[in-house]
Amino acid sequence: MSEMAANDPLPKPKRDLAPILLPVALALLMIPLVGSTSSWLTLTVASLAMGMMIFIMASGLTLVFGLMDVLNFGHGAFIAVGAYIATLVFAPFAASVQAESLWTNLAVLAPAALLSMAVSGALGLVVERVLILPVYGQHLKQILMTTGGLIVAEQTLYALWGPQIIPMPLPASLRGSFILGDVAIAKYRLLAMLVGLAVFIAIQLVLNRTKLGLLIRAGVENREMVEALGYRIRRLFLGVFMTGSALAGLGGVMWALYREQVHASMSDDLTVLIFIVVIIGGLGSIGGCFIGAILVAMVANYGGFLLPKLALVSNILLMVAILMWRPRGLYAVTSR
Protein backbone atom coordinates (compact mmCIF):
# COMPACT_ATOMS: atom_id res chain seq x y z
CA MET A 1 0.00 0.00 0.00
CA SER A 2 2.93 2.31 0.57
CA GLU A 3 3.64 2.42 -3.18
CA MET A 4 0.06 3.33 -3.82
CA ALA A 5 0.25 6.09 -1.27
CA ALA A 6 3.52 7.39 -2.64
CA ASN A 7 2.19 7.70 -6.18
CA ASP A 8 -0.70 9.94 -5.27
CA PRO A 9 -0.86 13.53 -4.10
CA LEU A 10 -2.13 12.86 -0.62
CA PRO A 11 -3.21 15.71 1.58
CA LYS A 12 -1.42 15.62 4.90
CA PRO A 13 -3.54 15.71 8.03
CA LYS A 14 -3.71 19.21 9.43
CA ARG A 15 -1.99 19.55 12.78
CA ASP A 16 -3.71 21.54 15.48
CA LEU A 17 -0.76 23.38 16.93
CA ALA A 18 -2.54 25.94 19.12
CA PRO A 19 -2.63 23.74 22.26
CA ILE A 20 1.04 22.83 21.82
CA LEU A 21 1.98 26.50 21.60
CA LEU A 22 0.01 27.34 24.73
CA PRO A 23 2.58 26.18 27.34
CA VAL A 24 5.38 27.69 25.23
CA ALA A 25 3.56 31.02 25.13
CA LEU A 26 2.80 30.82 28.85
CA ALA A 27 6.45 30.14 29.68
CA LEU A 28 7.65 33.02 27.49
CA LEU A 29 5.05 35.34 28.99
CA MET A 30 6.39 34.56 32.43
CA ILE A 31 9.95 35.72 31.68
CA PRO A 32 9.29 39.42 32.32
CA LEU A 33 6.83 38.69 35.13
CA VAL A 34 9.21 36.47 37.08
CA GLY A 35 12.05 38.90 36.48
CA SER A 36 15.13 36.81 37.18
CA THR A 37 16.14 34.41 34.40
CA SER A 38 17.54 31.85 36.84
CA SER A 39 14.28 31.85 38.87
CA TRP A 40 12.29 31.53 35.64
CA LEU A 41 14.42 28.60 34.46
CA THR A 42 14.16 26.88 37.85
CA LEU A 43 10.38 27.34 37.88
CA THR A 44 10.09 26.13 34.29
CA VAL A 45 12.12 22.98 34.95
CA ALA A 46 10.12 22.38 38.14
CA SER A 47 6.91 22.77 36.10
CA LEU A 48 8.04 20.33 33.44
CA ALA A 49 9.11 17.76 36.05
CA MET A 50 5.89 18.11 38.02
CA GLY A 51 3.90 18.08 34.79
CA MET A 52 5.53 14.83 33.67
CA MET A 53 4.73 13.15 36.98
CA ILE A 54 1.12 14.30 36.81
CA PHE A 55 0.98 13.13 33.19
CA ILE A 56 2.14 9.64 34.17
CA MET A 57 -0.62 9.47 36.79
CA ALA A 58 -3.31 11.02 34.58
CA SER A 59 -2.57 9.21 31.30
CA GLY A 60 -4.29 6.00 32.38
CA LEU A 61 -7.27 7.88 33.76
CA THR A 62 -7.88 9.79 30.54
CA LEU A 63 -7.96 6.55 28.54
CA VAL A 64 -10.27 4.98 31.13
CA PHE A 65 -12.53 8.02 30.90
CA GLY A 66 -12.44 8.16 27.12
CA LEU A 67 -12.59 4.48 26.26
CA MET A 68 -14.73 3.10 29.04
CA ASP A 69 -16.74 6.20 29.98
CA VAL A 70 -15.97 5.30 33.57
CA LEU A 71 -15.72 7.99 36.24
CA ASN A 72 -13.03 6.48 38.42
CA PHE A 73 -12.79 8.57 41.58
CA GLY A 74 -10.60 5.89 43.11
CA HIS A 75 -7.64 6.41 40.77
CA GLY A 76 -5.71 7.94 43.67
CA ALA A 77 -5.68 4.57 45.46
CA PHE A 78 -3.35 3.15 42.80
CA ILE A 79 -1.00 6.11 43.33
CA ALA A 80 -0.80 5.53 47.08
CA VAL A 81 -0.53 1.75 46.76
CA GLY A 82 2.31 2.16 44.25
CA ALA A 83 4.19 4.42 46.66
CA TYR A 84 3.70 2.07 49.62
CA ILE A 85 4.86 -0.95 47.65
CA ALA A 86 8.05 0.94 46.77
CA THR A 87 8.76 1.46 50.49
CA LEU A 88 8.70 -2.33 50.90
CA VAL A 89 11.59 -2.60 48.44
CA PHE A 90 13.44 0.46 49.69
CA ALA A 91 13.43 -0.55 53.39
CA PRO A 92 15.59 -3.70 53.18
CA PHE A 93 17.94 -2.09 50.68
CA ALA A 94 18.41 1.25 52.47
CA ALA A 95 22.18 0.97 52.19
CA SER A 96 21.99 0.55 48.41
CA VAL A 97 19.58 3.49 48.17
CA GLN A 98 22.03 5.70 50.02
CA ALA A 99 25.08 4.47 48.08
CA GLU A 100 26.76 7.10 45.94
CA SER A 101 26.70 4.98 42.78
CA LEU A 102 23.88 5.75 40.35
CA TRP A 103 23.77 2.13 39.16
CA THR A 104 23.48 0.81 42.72
CA ASN A 105 20.60 3.23 43.30
CA LEU A 106 18.91 2.23 40.06
CA ALA A 107 19.29 -1.46 40.95
CA VAL A 108 16.82 -0.77 43.79
CA LEU A 109 14.74 1.97 42.18
CA ALA A 110 13.93 0.08 38.96
CA PRO A 111 12.67 -3.13 40.63
CA ALA A 112 10.74 -1.01 43.15
CA ALA A 113 9.03 0.88 40.32
CA LEU A 114 8.29 -2.33 38.40
CA LEU A 115 6.88 -4.07 41.48
CA SER A 116 4.72 -1.03 42.26
CA MET A 117 3.38 -1.06 38.70
CA ALA A 118 2.69 -4.79 38.86
CA VAL A 119 0.81 -4.54 42.17
CA SER A 120 -1.14 -1.44 41.11
CA GLY A 121 -1.98 -3.11 37.79
CA ALA A 122 -3.17 -6.25 39.59
CA LEU A 123 -5.23 -4.10 41.95
CA GLY A 124 -6.68 -2.47 38.82
CA LEU A 125 -7.78 -5.91 37.62
CA VAL A 126 -9.60 -6.55 40.91
CA VAL A 127 -11.19 -3.08 40.96
CA GLU A 128 -12.43 -3.38 37.36
CA ARG A 129 -13.92 -6.83 37.91
CA VAL A 130 -15.41 -6.21 41.37
CA LEU A 131 -16.31 -2.50 41.51
CA ILE A 132 -16.67 -1.26 37.95
CA LEU A 133 -18.01 -4.21 35.94
CA PRO A 134 -21.40 -4.14 37.70
CA VAL A 135 -21.85 -0.39 37.11
CA TYR A 136 -20.79 0.19 33.49
CA GLY A 137 -22.91 2.95 31.99
CA GLN A 138 -24.13 4.19 35.40
CA HIS A 139 -22.12 7.28 36.28
CA LEU A 140 -23.59 7.98 39.70
CA LYS A 141 -22.99 4.42 40.84
CA GLN A 142 -19.46 4.56 39.42
CA ILE A 143 -18.73 7.63 41.54
CA LEU A 144 -20.15 5.95 44.66
CA MET A 145 -18.36 2.64 44.04
CA THR A 146 -14.96 4.10 43.19
CA THR A 147 -15.09 6.69 45.99
CA GLY A 148 -15.97 3.86 48.36
CA GLY A 149 -13.09 1.84 46.94
CA LEU A 150 -10.71 4.75 47.54
CA ILE A 151 -11.82 5.01 51.19
CA VAL A 152 -11.38 1.27 51.69
CA ALA A 153 -7.93 1.38 50.07
CA GLU A 154 -6.79 4.32 52.20
CA GLN A 155 -8.04 2.74 55.42
CA THR A 156 -6.38 -0.57 54.48
CA LEU A 157 -3.09 1.28 54.01
CA TYR A 158 -3.57 2.94 57.43
CA ALA A 159 -4.27 -0.46 58.97
CA LEU A 160 -1.22 -2.09 57.38
CA TRP A 161 1.35 0.70 57.66
CA GLY A 162 -0.07 2.90 60.41
CA PRO A 163 -1.14 6.54 60.26
CA GLN A 164 2.36 8.00 60.36
CA ILE A 165 4.10 9.56 57.38
CA ILE A 166 6.76 7.18 56.04
CA PRO A 167 9.94 8.92 54.88
CA MET A 168 11.14 7.94 51.43
CA PRO A 169 14.52 9.57 50.89
CA LEU A 170 15.79 10.17 47.41
CA PRO A 171 18.61 7.85 46.35
CA ALA A 172 21.94 9.57 47.02
CA SER A 173 22.93 9.93 43.37
CA LEU A 174 19.65 11.71 42.56
CA ARG A 175 20.08 14.33 45.27
CA GLY A 176 21.45 17.74 44.48
CA SER A 177 21.48 19.71 41.27
CA PHE A 178 23.35 20.27 38.09
CA ILE A 179 24.65 23.85 38.12
CA LEU A 180 24.53 25.67 34.79
CA GLY A 181 25.81 29.18 35.35
CA ASP A 182 23.62 30.58 38.09
CA VAL A 183 20.82 28.08 37.43
CA ALA A 184 20.41 24.96 39.52
CA ILE A 185 18.53 22.07 37.92
CA ALA A 186 17.60 19.34 40.38
CA LYS A 187 18.80 15.92 39.22
CA TYR A 188 15.60 14.19 40.24
CA ARG A 189 13.49 16.68 38.31
CA LEU A 190 15.53 15.89 35.24
CA LEU A 191 14.96 12.18 35.77
CA ALA A 192 11.22 12.77 36.25
CA MET A 193 11.13 14.69 32.95
CA LEU A 194 12.95 11.88 31.14
CA VAL A 195 10.69 9.17 32.58
CA GLY A 196 7.55 11.20 31.76
CA LEU A 197 8.77 11.80 28.23
CA ALA A 198 9.60 8.11 27.80
CA VAL A 199 6.11 7.12 28.99
CA PHE A 200 4.53 9.67 26.62
CA ILE A 201 6.57 8.41 23.65
CA ALA A 202 5.81 4.78 24.52
CA ILE A 203 2.07 5.46 24.75
CA GLN A 204 2.13 7.42 21.49
CA LEU A 205 3.97 4.61 19.72
CA VAL A 206 1.47 2.04 20.94
CA LEU A 207 -1.51 4.22 20.06
CA ASN A 208 -0.27 5.25 16.62
CA ARG A 209 1.85 2.35 15.39
CA THR A 210 0.01 -0.76 16.54
CA LYS A 211 -3.36 -2.29 15.81
CA LEU A 212 -4.00 -2.42 19.56
CA GLY A 213 -3.47 1.32 19.65
CA LEU A 214 -5.84 1.84 16.73
CA LEU A 215 -8.45 -0.18 18.60
CA ILE A 216 -8.03 1.93 21.72
CA ARG A 217 -8.28 5.18 19.74
CA ALA A 218 -11.29 3.90 17.83
CA GLY A 219 -12.88 2.63 21.05
CA VAL A 220 -12.48 6.03 22.70
CA GLU A 221 -14.47 7.50 19.82
CA ASN A 222 -17.12 4.86 19.22
CA ARG A 223 -17.14 1.70 21.32
CA GLU A 224 -20.23 0.32 19.61
CA MET A 225 -18.70 0.43 16.14
CA VAL A 226 -15.53 -1.27 17.36
CA GLU A 227 -17.71 -4.11 18.61
CA ALA A 228 -19.64 -4.16 15.33
CA LEU A 229 -16.30 -4.70 13.55
CA GLY A 230 -15.85 -7.86 15.62
CA TYR A 231 -13.56 -6.79 18.46
CA ARG A 232 -14.31 -7.66 22.07
CA ILE A 233 -13.94 -4.28 23.65
CA ARG A 234 -14.45 -5.49 27.22
CA ARG A 235 -11.04 -7.19 27.11
CA LEU A 236 -9.56 -4.01 25.78
CA PHE A 237 -11.24 -2.10 28.66
CA LEU A 238 -9.62 -4.40 31.18
CA GLY A 239 -6.18 -4.10 29.59
CA VAL A 240 -6.40 -0.31 29.48
CA PHE A 241 -7.67 -0.14 33.06
CA MET A 242 -4.80 -2.30 34.31
CA THR A 243 -2.24 -0.29 32.34
CA GLY A 244 -3.70 2.97 33.68
CA SER A 245 -3.55 1.61 37.21
CA ALA A 246 0.05 0.47 36.72
CA LEU A 247 1.04 3.92 35.43
CA ALA A 248 -0.66 5.51 38.44
CA GLY A 249 1.47 3.22 40.62
CA LEU A 250 4.61 4.39 38.80
CA GLY A 251 3.49 7.99 39.23
CA GLY A 252 2.96 7.29 42.94
CA VAL A 253 6.54 6.08 43.35
CA MET A 254 7.87 9.12 41.51
CA TRP A 255 5.70 11.55 43.46
CA ALA A 256 6.70 9.93 46.78
CA LEU A 257 10.37 10.34 45.88
CA TYR A 258 9.70 13.94 44.81
CA ARG A 259 8.08 14.70 48.19
CA GLU A 260 10.36 12.21 49.98
CA GLN A 261 7.44 10.86 51.97
CA VAL A 262 4.53 8.44 51.73
CA HIS A 263 1.15 8.53 53.42
CA ALA A 264 -2.19 6.92 52.75
CA SER A 265 -3.96 10.11 51.65
CA MET A 266 -1.04 11.39 49.54
CA SER A 267 -3.17 11.26 46.42
CA ASP A 268 -6.02 13.46 47.71
CA ASP A 269 -4.58 16.76 46.45
CA LEU A 270 -3.15 15.11 43.36
CA THR A 271 -6.50 13.67 42.34
CA VAL A 272 -7.93 17.17 41.88
CA LEU A 273 -5.01 18.13 39.63
CA ILE A 274 -5.30 14.86 37.70
CA PHE A 275 -9.00 15.39 37.04
CA ILE A 276 -8.33 18.95 35.88
CA VAL A 277 -5.64 17.63 33.51
CA VAL A 278 -7.95 14.96 32.09
CA ILE A 279 -10.77 17.46 31.57
CA ILE A 280 -8.73 20.24 30.00
CA GLY A 281 -6.78 17.78 27.84
CA GLY A 282 -9.98 16.34 26.35
CA LEU A 283 -11.33 13.00 27.56
CA GLY A 284 -9.33 10.16 26.06
CA SER A 285 -6.64 12.35 24.50
CA ILE A 286 -3.08 11.43 25.47
CA GLY A 287 -1.66 14.47 23.67
CA GLY A 288 -4.14 16.74 25.44
CA CYS A 289 -3.33 15.07 28.74
CA PHE A 290 0.39 15.68 28.18
CA ILE A 291 -0.08 19.39 27.44
CA GLY A 292 -2.72 19.74 30.16
CA ALA A 293 -0.33 18.29 32.74
CA ILE A 294 2.39 20.74 31.78
CA LEU A 295 -0.06 23.65 31.88
CA VAL A 296 -1.40 22.66 35.30
CA ALA A 297 2.12 22.32 36.67
CA MET A 298 3.15 25.66 35.14
CA VAL A 299 0.17 27.43 36.65
CA ALA A 300 0.89 25.83 40.04
CA ASN A 301 4.59 26.80 39.96
CA TYR A 302 4.45 30.23 38.31
CA GLY A 303 1.24 31.03 40.19
CA GLY A 304 2.75 29.93 43.51
CA PHE A 305 5.76 32.17 42.87
CA LEU A 306 3.92 35.25 41.58
CA LEU A 307 0.55 35.12 43.31
CA PRO A 308 0.74 32.69 46.25
CA LYS A 309 -2.72 33.71 47.45
CA LEU A 310 -4.23 32.55 44.18
CA ALA A 311 -2.45 29.18 44.28
CA LEU A 312 -5.53 27.32 45.51
CA VAL A 313 -7.78 28.48 42.72
CA SER A 314 -5.27 29.02 39.92
CA ASN A 315 -5.84 25.62 38.32
CA ILE A 316 -9.59 25.95 38.55
CA LEU A 317 -9.26 29.28 36.74
CA LEU A 318 -7.06 27.58 34.14
CA MET A 319 -9.71 24.91 33.60
CA VAL A 320 -12.44 27.53 33.24
CA ALA A 321 -10.36 29.50 30.72
CA ILE A 322 -9.53 26.45 28.62
CA LEU A 323 -13.07 25.12 28.62
CA MET A 324 -14.34 28.55 27.54
CA TRP A 325 -11.89 28.37 24.63
CA ARG A 326 -12.42 24.68 23.84
CA PRO A 327 -15.44 23.28 25.67
CA ARG A 328 -14.45 19.66 25.05
CA GLY A 329 -10.82 20.17 26.03
CA LEU A 330 -7.61 20.95 24.16
CA TYR A 331 -7.93 17.92 21.89
CA ALA A 332 -11.50 16.66 21.76
CA VAL A 333 -11.63 12.96 20.97
CA THR A 334 -14.95 11.75 22.28
CA SER A 335 -18.27 13.45 21.80
CA ARG A 336 -18.84 13.38 25.55
Binding site: M1, P13, E221, E224, M225, G230, R232
Partner: protein
Protein backbone atom coordinates in the same frame (compact mmCIF):
# COMPACT_ATOMS: atom_id res chain seq x y z
CA UNK B 1 -33.06 -20.16 -2.75
CA UNK B 2 -31.91 -20.66 0.84
CA UNK B 3 -32.39 -17.99 3.46
CA UNK B 4 -29.13 -16.71 4.94
CA UNK B 5 -30.89 -14.74 7.65
CA UNK B 6 -34.22 -15.48 9.25
CA UNK B 7 -36.05 -13.61 12.01
CA UNK B 8 -39.03 -15.29 13.68
CA UNK B 9 -41.28 -13.47 16.11
CA UNK B 10 -38.59 -10.97 17.14
CA UNK B 11 -39.52 -8.37 19.74
CA UNK B 12 -37.22 -5.60 20.94
CA UNK B 13 -37.79 -3.29 23.88
CA UNK B 14 -35.73 -0.15 24.36
CA UNK B 15 -36.36 1.07 27.86
CA UNK B 16 -40.12 1.06 28.27
CA UNK B 17 -40.74 1.32 24.54
CA UNK B 18 -41.80 -1.78 22.63
CA UNK B 19 -40.22 -1.12 19.24
CA UNK B 20 -40.18 -4.41 17.34
CA UNK B 21 -43.47 -6.22 17.84
CA UNK B 22 -42.98 -9.67 16.37
CA UNK B 23 -40.85 -9.38 13.24
CA UNK B 24 -40.79 -12.30 10.81
CA UNK B 25 -38.49 -11.88 7.87
CA UNK B 26 -36.10 -13.81 5.68
CA UNK B 27 -33.13 -12.60 3.64
CA UNK B 28 -32.33 -15.00 0.78
CA UNK B 29 -28.71 -15.82 0.02
CA UNK B 30 -27.17 -13.69 -2.74
CA UNK B 31 -30.04 -11.21 -2.91
CA UNK B 32 -30.57 -7.61 -1.95
CA UNK B 33 -33.55 -7.37 0.37
CA UNK B 34 -34.88 -3.86 0.85
CA UNK B 35 -36.33 -2.85 4.20
CA UNK B 36 -38.59 0.14 3.67
CA UNK B 37 -40.96 2.09 5.84
CA UNK B 38 -41.74 5.46 7.30
CA UNK B 39 -39.54 7.12 9.92
CA UNK B 40 -39.92 5.40 13.25
CA UNK B 41 -41.25 2.17 11.74
CA UNK B 42 -38.45 0.13 13.34
CA UNK B 43 -36.05 -0.40 10.42
CA UNK B 44 -32.90 0.73 12.21
CA UNK B 45 -33.95 -1.18 15.33
CA UNK B 46 -34.28 -4.31 13.20
CA UNK B 47 -30.71 -3.98 11.93
CA UNK B 48 -29.36 -3.17 15.39
CA UNK B 49 -31.19 -6.15 16.87
CA UNK B 50 -29.73 -8.48 14.24
CA UNK B 51 -26.30 -7.04 15.01
CA UNK B 52 -26.79 -7.60 18.75
CA UNK B 53 -26.45 -3.90 19.53
CA UNK B 54 -29.90 -4.10 21.08
CA UNK B 55 -30.95 -7.43 22.52
CA UNK B 56 -34.10 -9.07 21.23
CA UNK B 57 -36.46 -9.52 24.17
CA UNK B 58 -38.22 -12.41 22.45
CA UNK B 59 -37.99 -14.42 19.23
CA UNK B 60 -35.35 -16.18 17.21
CA UNK B 61 -32.69 -14.90 14.80
CA UNK B 62 -30.94 -17.49 12.61
CA UNK B 63 -27.85 -16.71 10.56
CA UNK B 64 -26.67 -19.48 8.24
CA UNK B 65 -28.37 -22.01 10.48
CA UNK B 66 -27.00 -20.64 13.79
CA UNK B 67 -29.07 -18.91 16.44
CA UNK B 68 -27.55 -15.51 17.17
CA UNK B 69 -30.14 -13.54 19.16
CA UNK B 70 -28.28 -14.06 22.44
CA UNK B 71 -24.81 -13.57 21.05
CA UNK B 72 -22.63 -10.53 21.69
CA UNK B 73 -22.08 -8.07 18.84
CA UNK B 74 -18.40 -9.01 18.22
CA UNK B 75 -19.36 -12.68 17.92
CA UNK B 76 -22.10 -11.84 15.41
CA UNK B 77 -19.64 -9.73 13.40
CA UNK B 78 -17.18 -12.62 13.43
CA UNK B 79 -19.82 -14.88 11.91
CA UNK B 80 -19.43 -12.72 8.82
CA UNK B 81 -21.84 -9.82 9.24
CA UNK B 82 -20.76 -6.39 8.05
CA UNK B 83 -22.66 -3.39 9.42
CA UNK B 84 -22.94 0.09 7.96
CA UNK B 85 -24.86 2.23 10.46
CA UNK B 86 -27.04 5.18 9.55
CA UNK B 87 -24.61 7.52 11.32
CA UNK B 88 -21.74 6.04 9.23
CA UNK B 89 -19.70 5.89 12.46
CA UNK B 90 -16.33 6.28 10.81
CA UNK B 91 -13.54 6.79 13.34
CA UNK B 92 -12.89 10.45 12.68
CA UNK B 93 -9.64 10.60 14.64
CA UNK B 94 -8.20 7.78 12.52
CA UNK B 95 -7.05 8.08 8.92
CA UNK B 96 -8.88 6.41 6.05
CA UNK B 97 -6.16 3.78 6.00
CA UNK B 98 -6.43 3.16 9.74
CA UNK B 99 -10.21 2.80 9.51
CA UNK B 100 -9.76 0.08 6.90
CA UNK B 101 -6.89 -1.60 8.75
CA UNK B 102 -9.22 -2.02 11.74
CA UNK B 103 -12.00 -3.35 9.55
CA UNK B 104 -9.64 -5.96 8.06
CA UNK B 105 -9.99 -8.18 11.10
CA UNK B 106 -8.43 -11.30 9.67
CA UNK B 107 -5.09 -9.91 8.56
CA UNK B 108 -3.37 -7.22 6.49
CA UNK B 109 -5.28 -5.27 3.88
CA UNK B 110 -5.67 -7.13 0.61
CA UNK B 111 -4.35 -5.01 -2.27
CA UNK B 112 -6.66 -6.57 -4.89
CA UNK B 113 -9.72 -5.94 -2.70
CA UNK B 114 -8.55 -2.38 -2.09
CA UNK B 115 -8.08 -1.76 -5.82
CA UNK B 116 -11.62 -3.02 -6.36
CA UNK B 117 -12.91 -0.62 -3.69
CA UNK B 118 -10.86 2.30 -5.07
CA UNK B 119 -12.40 1.54 -8.47
CA UNK B 120 -15.72 2.99 -7.38
CA UNK B 121 -14.53 5.09 -4.43
CA UNK B 122 -11.43 6.86 -5.84
CA UNK B 123 -11.71 9.54 -3.13
CA UNK B 124 -10.64 7.00 -0.54
CA UNK B 125 -7.39 6.49 -2.40
CA UNK B 126 -6.82 10.25 -2.65
CA UNK B 127 -7.45 10.79 1.04
CA UNK B 128 -5.75 7.58 2.14
CA UNK B 129 -3.70 9.27 4.87
CA UNK B 130 -6.22 11.96 5.78
CA UNK B 131 -8.21 11.89 8.98
CA UNK B 132 -11.64 10.45 8.36
CA UNK B 133 -13.11 13.38 10.29
CA UNK B 134 -11.99 15.73 7.53
CA UNK B 135 -13.90 13.86 4.80
CA UNK B 136 -17.18 15.12 3.35
CA UNK B 137 -20.45 13.36 4.20
CA UNK B 138 -20.40 11.38 0.96
CA UNK B 139 -16.79 10.35 1.42
CA UNK B 140 -17.52 9.22 4.98
CA UNK B 141 -20.35 7.09 3.63
CA UNK B 142 -17.97 5.59 1.07
CA UNK B 143 -15.50 4.81 3.85
CA UNK B 144 -18.23 3.30 5.99
CA UNK B 145 -19.27 0.98 3.16
CA UNK B 146 -15.64 0.23 2.25
CA UNK B 147 -15.08 -0.81 5.86
CA UNK B 148 -17.87 -3.34 5.59
CA UNK B 149 -16.57 -4.86 2.35
CA UNK B 150 -12.81 -4.69 2.86
CA UNK B 151 -13.00 -8.38 3.69
CA UNK B 152 -15.57 -10.81 2.32
CA UNK B 153 -18.70 -10.92 4.50
CA UNK B 154 -21.61 -13.33 4.40
CA UNK B 155 -24.18 -10.64 5.06
CA UNK B 156 -24.17 -6.86 4.85
CA UNK B 157 -26.56 -4.78 6.94
CA UNK B 158 -26.66 -1.29 5.47
CA UNK B 159 -28.71 1.50 7.01
CA UNK B 160 -29.80 4.37 4.75
CA UNK B 161 -26.54 4.82 2.80
CA UNK B 162 -27.95 7.58 0.59
CA UNK B 163 -29.34 9.72 3.41
CA UNK B 164 -28.36 13.37 3.10
CA UNK B 165 -26.06 12.84 0.12
CA UNK B 166 -25.91 14.86 -3.09
CA UNK B 167 -27.60 13.20 -6.11
CA UNK B 168 -24.28 12.59 -7.92
CA UNK B 169 -22.91 10.77 -4.91
CA UNK B 170 -26.13 8.80 -4.53
CA UNK B 171 -25.69 7.55 -8.11
CA UNK B 172 -22.08 6.53 -7.38
CA UNK B 173 -23.22 4.70 -4.26
CA UNK B 174 -25.94 2.89 -6.16
CA UNK B 175 -23.38 1.77 -8.76
CA UNK B 176 -21.11 0.57 -5.97
CA UNK B 177 -23.88 -1.40 -4.28
CA UNK B 178 -24.85 -2.90 -7.65
CA UNK B 179 -21.25 -4.03 -8.08
CA UNK B 180 -21.22 -5.55 -4.60
CA UNK B 181 -24.48 -7.28 -5.48
CA UNK B 182 -22.98 -8.63 -8.73
CA UNK B 183 -20.22 -10.22 -6.66
CA UNK B 184 -22.89 -12.28 -4.96
CA UNK B 185 -23.21 -10.46 -1.65
CA UNK B 186 -26.29 -10.89 0.50
CA UNK B 187 -27.56 -7.51 1.65
CA UNK B 188 -30.30 -6.29 3.93
CA UNK B 189 -30.63 -2.67 2.97
CA UNK B 190 -32.66 -0.02 4.78
CA UNK B 191 -33.46 2.82 2.43
CA UNK B 192 -35.76 5.84 2.29
CA UNK B 193 -34.77 6.73 -1.25
CA UNK B 194 -37.28 4.79 -3.33
CA UNK B 195 -35.33 5.29 -6.54
CA UNK B 196 -32.28 3.62 -4.96
CA UNK B 197 -34.51 0.88 -3.57
CA UNK B 198 -35.96 0.17 -7.02
CA UNK B 199 -32.51 0.09 -8.60
CA UNK B 200 -31.01 -2.27 -6.07
CA UNK B 201 -33.71 -4.43 -4.51
CA UNK B 202 -34.61 -7.98 -5.46
CA UNK B 203 -37.20 -8.37 -2.75
CA UNK B 204 -38.80 -5.90 -0.40
CA UNK B 205 -40.11 -5.79 3.15
CA UNK B 206 -42.16 -2.85 4.33
CA UNK B 207 -42.37 -2.05 8.05
CA UNK B 208 -44.88 -0.07 10.03
CA UNK B 209 -45.18 0.26 13.81
CA UNK B 210 -42.62 -2.44 14.48
CA UNK B 211 -44.12 -5.11 12.25
CA UNK B 212 -43.70 -6.24 8.65
CA UNK B 213 -46.77 -5.12 6.76
CA UNK B 214 -45.75 -6.13 3.25
CA UNK B 215 -43.34 -8.57 1.64
CA UNK B 216 -42.82 -9.31 -2.04
CA UNK B 217 -40.77 -8.59 -5.14
CA UNK B 218 -39.25 -5.11 -5.37
CA UNK B 219 -40.20 -4.86 -9.03
CA UNK B 220 -43.85 -5.50 -8.17
CA UNK B 221 -43.91 -2.71 -5.56
CA UNK B 222 -42.10 -0.35 -7.94
CA UNK B 223 -44.77 -0.99 -10.56
CA UNK B 224 -47.72 -0.49 -8.23
CA UNK B 225 -48.15 3.21 -7.43
CA UNK B 226 -51.25 2.75 -5.31
CA UNK B 227 -49.50 0.13 -3.19
CA UNK B 228 -46.56 2.51 -2.70
CA UNK B 229 -48.94 5.25 -1.60
CA UNK B 230 -50.74 2.94 0.78
CA UNK B 231 -47.60 1.43 2.33
CA UNK B 232 -45.16 4.28 2.22
CA UNK B 233 -47.28 7.37 1.71
CA UNK B 234 -45.47 8.19 -1.53
CA UNK B 235 -45.23 7.25 -5.14
CA UNK B 236 -42.16 6.47 -7.17
CA UNK B 237 -42.75 9.48 -9.39
CA UNK B 238 -42.30 11.87 -6.47
CA UNK B 239 -38.82 10.46 -5.87
CA UNK B 240 -37.48 10.42 -9.37
Amino acid sequence: MTDLLKLSGVHTHIGRYHILQGIDLAVPQGQVTMLLGRNGAGKTTTLRTIMGLWQASKGEIMLAGERIESRATPDIARLGVGYVPESMAVFSDLTVRENLVLAARDGPLDDAQLDWIFGFFPALRRFWLSRAGSLSGGQKQMLSIARAIVEPRKLLLIDEPTKGLAPAIVMALIECLKEIKRKGATILLVEQNFFAARELGDSVLVMDNGTIVHRGEMAALAADVSLQERLLGLSLETHQ
